[in-house]
Symmetry: C2
Subunit: 395 residues, 2 copies
């Protein structure tokens, strides 16, 4: 019940035990195409370039940034938590001229602040986290694509922590590039990064086209400003997933199975239904911890539905309570990074864990663990408050 990685859906775990097939086997290429179509549904997009990067969520981030940013170009990163710093870090390593704006942890940016910064910096690319698990905040994105288009910037967003548990509309919001991971609301293991690119983003990548030595043929000219990573060259990755099927990496077959099953489950239940399930479970957890008399960090109106940052009460040692939960109850929760390390616990309700029994068990265990560590907590009020939310949702 941490902020991710989480317990995967059982059928996702089972999917990875399926036999492997060769990378150009017709079954494999058909499954890759099917996976692309499923993720168009997950991202709410018609983007042709919708695929997986073979690595963890930050592999997807780096693939997007190194493919879209030429050295020296200006990149604007609004930072509202640890993962905004990560976007700035990756952009800096890609030799961008990085500009950041920051807001207090626990807050999101008003759109006017974003617009002012875009107009001032005039970036080639805006890189903005949607949900930053470090603070639990969920940055509103619905007006950002329009802003970027108006100012001639590409709009990239990292939806790792938020996708599947909160609304995401790639096309309607004018997103040019977005990446995620499986290990949060999609309910799978870390190790595969879904990614989608608009035609505009694809145009930038195509203009930097280079086919690698070893499979390059006559007429395959290399752009002078080719992408400085081979593994993360989205042009080559698109040629591998696309009809040309140019050899690049060897697709990670078992992770493809997992990614396929994550998306299939989400669309079978229904994107809106899954988001609603996360909203209810998240609300129940929020009311549950409040029922235990605990404070909640940050601007709750803007938090992701799938994770809550609980203020650690002064009378207990946060890590000792976490250890009790893990050792006595087999339930894992997280702490956070930087200024929030040791100040909050992060409790997730993501993917398979966005369930009533998981929420109630966690609250009952937390109540017991707090009491055994000497905290005075109301008797059963956490579970009861959560149960009321579920009852209300079912009514």
């Amino acid at each position: 019940m941490g902020p991710g990685p989480i317990s995967a859906y059982p059928s996702v775990l089972r999917s990875m035990s399926a036999p492997l097939v060769g990378q150009f086997d017709p079954y494999m290429t058909a499954l890759m195409e099917e996976t692309q179509e499923l993720y168009r549904g997950v991202w709410s997009t018609r983007n042709d370039a919708t695929l997986l990067v073979d690595g963890t969520s930050r592999a997807g981030i780096e693939a997007a940034l190194v493919s879209l940013i030429r050295p020296g170009e200006r990149v604007l990163v609004p930072v509202f938590g640890r993962f905004g710093h990560l976007l700035a870090e990756i952009a800096e390593r890609a030799q961008a001229e990085v500009h950041t704006i920051e807001t207090d942890w626990g807050q999101v940016f008003p759109v006017s602040v974003l617009e002012e910064a875009i107009a001032r910096v005039r970036p080639t690319l805006l890189a903005l986290v949607q949900g930053d698990t470090s603070t639990t905040m969920n940055q509103p994105l619905d007006e950002v694509g329009e802003l970027c288009a108006k100012h001639g910037a590409l709009f990239y967003t990292d939806a790792t922590a938020s996708l599947g548990g909160n609304p995401f509309e790639a096309d309607a919001w004018g997103v040019d590039a977005a990446t995620a991971g499986l290990q949060k609301c999609l309910g799978g293991p870390s190790g595969s990064s879904p990614l989608t690119l608009s035609e505009r983003a694809l145009g930038v990548i195509r203009s930097r086209r280079r086919i690698e030595a070893g499979i390059r043929e006559d007429g395959d000219d290399s752009a002078p400003d080719f992408i400085r990573s081979n593994y993360f060259d989205l042009g080559q990755i698109c040629d591998y997933w696309g009809p040309r099927r140019l050899n690049h990496h060897t697709e990670a077959t078992s992770m493809l199975y997992a990614a396929h099953e994550c998306a299939r489950l989400l669309l079978q239940e229904g994107r809106d239904a899954v988001i609603a399930r996360h909203r209810v479970a998240g609300e129940a957890m929020l009311e549950g911890v409040r029922g235990l008399g605990l404070g909640v960090f940050g601007d709750v109106a803007h938090k992701m539905s799938n994770v809550v940052a609980v203020e650690i009460p002064e009378m207990v040692h946060g890590d000792a309570v976490r250890a009790s939960l893990l050792e006595d109850f087999g339930i894992e929760i997280g702490t956070s990074f930087g200024p929030l390390h040791g100040r909050v616990w992060r409790i997730g309700t993501m993917g398979h864990n966005a369930r009533e029994d998981a929420v109630l068990q966690t609250l009952a265990a937390l109540e017991s663990a707090l009491r055994s560590h000497g905290a005075s907590v109301p008797n059963g009020d956490g579970v009861e408050a959560a149960r009321a939310v579920f009852r209300g949702a079912a009514a």
Copy 2:
């Protein structure tokens, strides 16, 4: 039965269905340490920095090269197939000054040729494939480490196609960095790249140390020539696997389970026993295709034990025979790249597929498929020749 990815060991497939745990869960960190120790056995090394890169085998290659090469440094790449070109490509993208020497496809380099080139180029790093699946050749490496040390070069090798099926002695051969994948002789899925680094290699990486924004603390100074990739920064990856457990990527848990099981199986059977099994199965396949009257490409004395390049007879269409094998018999074999595309079939005997029944089935099916495509082939001589090899090995 292609050149990889191959059918995985059943217990490797099952291992990936195990429940996930959090990335700093004591079970997880203990499993990571256990995996490191297992891979020290696989690589034949005492290198502390023995770990997994979360991506396919070329992710491991890129991690090694971008972490070890500073822009402008000289890198020597002896090319004897498609994957030598890939090393040169990745080094070039890492902004190295890349020098290549080439030999004919189907040959390996005599050590004297390597020494002459090292003495002439004086590279910071020699990047040399061990087994190049495109040609099936297995470059002897046992004297290369000493040569590199004598000339002040680091020695990196890509053992993706060869590790587990052919001898590899990281410490005894003086290897500074080596990478592999699971999808060949280790008998697992693509998507995790075992990597090992000598103390000398680690020294270079430590000298480029940079801890990323977001988790950097006072005193964590950044080297001016820091690594230009975040995902592939082996310094950070070592800090994540090491006792400091600094947050970097979220370890791909299911792939870790698979990598752990691949190594556990190999060491349980015994490294030498597994290599011997590959040698016998490879010899049986070699004699089997010869028994069918087919030619074998390249310097057979130097081929990897686990793959054979079979010359496609003129009277048949190579891809049509491959399609028959797949559609009628459910057996997949490969063709090759570049100058060998359409000229050879590549038949693997790797990992779980290095078995007598797999070899005999493949030869029987190939005989039938060749005959149905109009080729005249001796009746049963392929299977019989292979069977004789297995009988001899068991005697």
